[in-house]
Every structure is written in C-alpha cells, then in structure tokens.
C-alpha cells in the first residue's frame, strides 16, 4: 500500500500540516463519511516539529491553570493509552519525577501536588530523599525531594505520526506530500488550495501547519495570532546507559520553563534536553556548542553519571509558540477556515484531544458527521525483531529469510523490517530510520546506510543516486561520470 495519493480535485476537508496534530485530525475525520486530504510540504509526515519532539505524554499537573493547553493536556493523556493500543505503537507510562534541591523548591513541588489533586491527576506523591535514592539511585545526592507522577508516559512522536497517517490513509484520506501550499483562494462553497501539482478545493480547511500556520492564515487574509519560533536542542546518549533513570526527571520548574529533562525514551535510549531559545529563522535546526554545554550541565546536575562522551547524536527542533502562550484553536471569520495553531508543549500529549475538538469545529462549519459504516481496521506494524525472543525470531526468519538478515547491527533491524517500512510509505533514509531505528544507534548509520539505500532502490525502483536523506535537495551520492568504456559489453 502506498501512503501517497494522487491529488483529489474536491474534498470536504483539507488538513494542512502533517505533524502529529494534523495526522491525528486527519485520522479522526477519516472515521466519518468525509473526503479528506492531508497536505504537508515535507516528504514524509512528522518531518517538521514533531520529529524533534521529546516524546513525553505529560501527566497534566505542570501546565498553568485556566489555559486551553492545560485543559486538553490531561484529556489527551487519558486518550493516548487506548489510541496507542489500537495503533500498535509503543507507549509506556514510565512516570515522572520533578525534583527539588532545596526547601524553596520543595514548596514548589507541594504547589504542583495540590494542582494535581485539583485536576484529578491520580497517584501523585511527594517522595523524600531516601525513597528517591531507593527508586532512582543515580539521581544527584543533592536532590532532597521529588514529586512522582505515575501517569506520565513516553511514546515515539514520529511513530505516532506514521501510524495515525497510515490509519487515515487506509480509511480513505488522501496524503499529499512534498506539497507546500502556495495560495488559498476563497471560492463559492469553499476554499481553493494552490499546490505545486494543482488545486484542491475544500469546503473546510484545517490549518495545522505548525511553524507555517501564520503564513497559511495570511493566505486567506487573516492575522489573528503571532508565532514565535522557539528552538530546542536535544542530545541522545548511548544505549549502554539504559536504566540510568527509569522515570523522566524534571528539574523544579521556573515560571518561564520546564527546564532541561532527562528522558528515558520509549526505545531505551536516554535523551537530555531540550533548550528553549527563540530564533528568527524558522528553519534553524542547528545545534550549538552553547546548547550542548547548557544541556549537559543541566542534565549532569540531575544525574551526575552522564558524561559528554556518552552522547551519540544531537538534533534540534523548532516549536511554534503563539505569543498568547496558549493553543490557538477555533473557527475564524473566513467561512470554512479553522485554525489549530500555536501547538507548543504539551501539544503531543494533547493531540488526540485536539483532534476531537477540531472534528467538532469542522462539523460546526456545516459538514455532517456520519460515522464511516465500514471502517478499515488498522494493520499494525509487526513487533520489531529486536523485541522478539529467540524462538519467535526463528519463526519469523523461517517464514521470510529477509527477517533473518540483520541490516542495522546497533539496533538489530532486519532487511525484512526495512523493506516493510518502505512498503508502508518510507521513501527516504530518514523515513526508514524513523520507522525502524536503522541508523539511529551508536554507529549512526556508518554500517547500515548502504544496505538501507540498496533496499530503498530495490523496493522503489529508483537508482541510488536519486535517493535522498529526507527529500528536497538532500541527495546522498552521485553517479560516476566515466568516459566511454573500452569494449563495453554488459
């Protein structure tokens, strides 16, 4: 099944932006009898802000009271359990610890604990030093107390995007990738979106374009919010450190920031970060030496056993933060144009709840929501070979030898899985990497890059010099330009 549809001429709803929010909205809409298309400028879903997300499903006691994001956070947290189950994506409620180094910070923890009680976030407990030491022996001995929230979880943000989009496509959504929207015209009975390969007319447009949401809004003549691009750098540590902490560790929050966290990701690596720096260039995905120093310093303050030599990879993402410091979700004065913008943290957590809200907003634009009579059940990705026991691995490999050939040694990914990822929609090295983890381990693709390129070429029929890292001009290799060959017989 290909995830890439041809361009439809008319749809009921066009969702602009294939990040986790857009994907969740498209999937929610696909459960109704509606023609929907999901449009993204990148070559794969989740390749914008979502890809660099920390992957935390927050418990809901951190964000400020009286905000939309605060309201949707806890609702989203509750929805992720069943959603992850249905989509077969990894989700684990590892819990989080917000830690205090002194009595002032303990007072802040106490305030957060009361906030949790008010919001009915269950199981939140204040742990003293000895309890902390017992539960998390690698935390700094200078930490005096911690607030434990068991309902905090971790997922893979990109895995969520892929699964949501795949399920949406299976249920009839057209996925248009490499498709930057360059214009939106108000036409009778809807809006016409100009794309590189044609025009799509939609009765309703959901603007979930992340960092591009203000530009999309401007295309219909609106200016209802302002965005700030806030960059965050994250650093991934060697898998060897798995188990260093079992729960996500937050420093005591300040009024402006959640601070730098130590995150045991769903895949077992430890991630430290993020930073939060406002940038002018929304494409600024650079990591910096200051960022590295800041993240390492902050992480080592929490967990002194982390050292700079443990770092295997780093990356940066840019969040779209509305100047109101809250989500911007709602209808606008342009009929059919709905904003789902300014989705900063906890946007990933809130995504399923945002999708629910957006579905209601779409209905309010005059579209009838009748449930799809025969929804296609989601075809889950097979369990990764690395998570199988020996006997099951043997069974899989005897059924298909490609599941016996290891392509990525660091993360134990087989050729069968790489080919499967390509059949499910990956077209680039990063597409394969984020679907299978091939190239994400400690050698960072040094040994599997060629094998993945070979599989991509074999599955897609494209020569290796036409393959890219992540679309656009991110070419990988050039072909030799040899002169005429002597006595060429091939």
């Amino acid at each position: 099944m290909s995830a890439r549809g041809t361009i439809p001429r008319e749809v009921d709803v066009a969702v602009v932006g294939g990040g986790v929010v857009g994907c969740a909205i498209a999937r929610a809409l696909s459960q109704f009898e509606l023609d929907v298309c999901l449009i993204d400028r990148e070559t794969d879903v989740g390749f914008g802000t979502s890809k660099a997300n920390s992957g935390i499903i927050h418990a809901g006691h951190h964000s400020a009271s009286g905000t939309l994001k605060g309201t949707l956070e806890w609702a989203g947290n509750q929805q992720w359990g069943p959603l992850a189950d249905e989509l077969g994506i990894g989700f684990e409620r590892v819990g989080d610890l917000t830690v205090a180094f002194d009595e002032d910070e303990v007072a802040t923890l106490e305030r957060l604990r009361r906030q949790a009680v008010e919001r009915e976030v269950p199981g939140v407990e204040l742990w003293d030093g000895p309890r902390l030491r017992r539960e998390e022996p690698n935390l700094s001995p200078e930490i005096v107390a911690g607030l434990f929230a068991p309902s905090t979880g971790v997922i893979n943000p990109y895995e969520a995007c892929f699964a949501l989009a795949e399920d949406a496509v299976a249920n009839g959504v057209s996925l248009l990738l490499d498709a930057p929207v360059h214009s939106i015209d108000v036409v009778p009975d809807g809006l016409a979106l100009g794309l590189p390969e044609g025009t799509v007319q939609a009765r309703v447009v959901v603007n979930a374009a992340g960092l591009g949401a203000d530009r999309i809004e401007a295309m219909v003549g609106l200016h209802t919010f302002d965005l700030v691009a806030r960059k965050g750098e994250e650093y991934l540590l060697d898998k060897r450190l798995e188990g260093l902490v079992r729960r996500i560790v937050f420093p005591c929050p300040t009024p402006t920031s959640k601070g730098t966290l130590v995150i045991p990701t769903f895949d077992g690596t430890i991630m430290i970060g993020p930073t939060a720096v406002d940038v002018d260039d929304r494409d600024d995905l650079t990591t910096t030496s200051d960022g590295a120093a800041q993240v390492l310093r902050a992480a080592r303050r929490l967990v002194p056993g982390i050292s700079p030599g443990d770092c295997i990879a780093e990356f940066a993402g840019v969040r779209a933060v509305a100047t109101t410091n809250d989500f911007v979700i709602g209808a606008t004065e342009v009929p059919g144009f709905v904003n789902v913008a300014g989705i900063q943290s906890p946007g990933l957590t809130a995504a399923p709840a945002i999708a629910e809200l957006a579905t209601r907003l779409v209905a309010e634009q005059g579209l009838a929501l009748s449930p799809e009579p025969s929804p296609v059940p989601f075809e889950r990705c097979p369990v990764p070979v690395r998570d199988l026991d020996g006997a099951t691995r043997a069974e899989r490999a005897s059924a298909d030898p490609a599941f016996g050939r290891v392509v990525c040694r660091c993360e134990l990914v087989t050729e069968g899985e790489v080919r499967g990822a390509i059949r499910r929609g990956a077209t680039t090295l990063d597409g394969v990497k984020f679907r299978t983890r091939a190239g994400m381990g400690r050698c960072q693709g040094g040994s599997c890059t060629w094998r993945v390129m070979e599989a991509l070429s074999a599955e897609t029929g494209r020569p290796v010099d036409a393959l890219t890292k992540r679309g656009g001009d991110s070419w990988l290799v050039l072909r030799r330009e040899d002169p005429m060959i002597d006595g060429a017989t091939s």
């Binding site: 002169p483 060959i485 006595g487 017989t489």
Partner: protein, 152 residues
C-alpha cells in the same frame, strides 16, 4: 612543492618552521622532503648543483632515509591503487594496483586511463587489467578474485 612538511594555519606547532638552513653555493638548489620511513619524519634536504647533480643529502637519521631522499629526488614513484568497472560480479568495482611503483608524474594520467577500462568477471587476483600502462612497462593487475554471479 611536494614533500614539504605541512604547516598549521597558525604557523604554530605541528609544522616545522622553515629555518634559514645551511649556506648553499651559488647556483645550487636545495629541495626538502619529509621522510616516510618511520614516525621520526626527518626533514631531508637534497642539495643539487647547477648541473643537476646531487651534491649532498642532509637531515636523515638512518641509511633508509638517505636512500629515500635520493630516490624521491631523482625518480619518485608510487604504487597506484584504484578501481575499474567490472561486470557480472557481486560488486560493480574491481580493486586494481600497479604491479610495481609507477613514476609519480603518471599517477593521475593512469587513473584517467583506468576510468575507461571495464573487465568481466570472473577475475583472478594478479590478472593483468591493463598491460604496460601508459608505456611505463608496468602492468595494472587485479587486487582480488571476483567470481561471476548471476546478479551481475
């Protein structure tokens, strides 16, 4: 100038700062080479008369160094290793080498020449891929066996 020791951007440690060197007779020319015989990396000097005869070799710490300086000065040679196209094998390139060191000046020309050579598997190590390369009297030979596969 080849053979000169590389210097850092800063001209600071790492590169030998050229010193004034010994007094040289008029018309004589001194060329320096970095010895590759051992980690010492001696800075070798070859002094040549106006008639292009070697007057003196200096700066070496062993006989090998002296020999290297003379060879490098009079007839520098390199073993050339590259690949040529191969058909019918598991991989598309066959590694090849010169059977003996080739005059240094011919290295690039040989690589250009080999770009238009293609062989068909099976190939055996030592098999001549290009005989008497560029008239040097030196053959280019296969560096490995490559069996014929159906996939090629």
């Amino acid at each position: 100038m080849s053979g000169l020791r590389p210097t850092g951007d800063t001209g600071e440690p790492g590169g030998a700062t050229p010193d004034d060197g010994p007094v040289v007779d008029a018309g004589h020319e001194v060329t320096t080479y970095l010895c590759i015989g051992c980690p010492l990396g001696c800075r070798l000097e070859v002094e040549e008369s106006a008639e292009h005869e070697i007057v003196e070799v200096r700066g070496f710490s062993c006989r090998r160094g002296e020999r290297f300086a003379r060879q490098e000065h009079t007839d520098p040679r390199r073993t050339v290793t590259t690949t040529v196209a191969v058909t019918g094998a598991r991989i598309p390139r066959l590694p090849v080498r010169t059977a003996a060191p080739l005059p240094k000046g011919l290295v690039r020309a040989l690589c250009d020449r080999l770009a238009s050579v293609r062989v068909a598997a099976p190939v055996r190590r030592g098999e001549v891929v290009l005989a008497d390369a560029l008239g040097s009297g030196i053959d280019v030979v296969a560096s490995r066996d490559l069996d014929r596969t159906d996939a090629g």
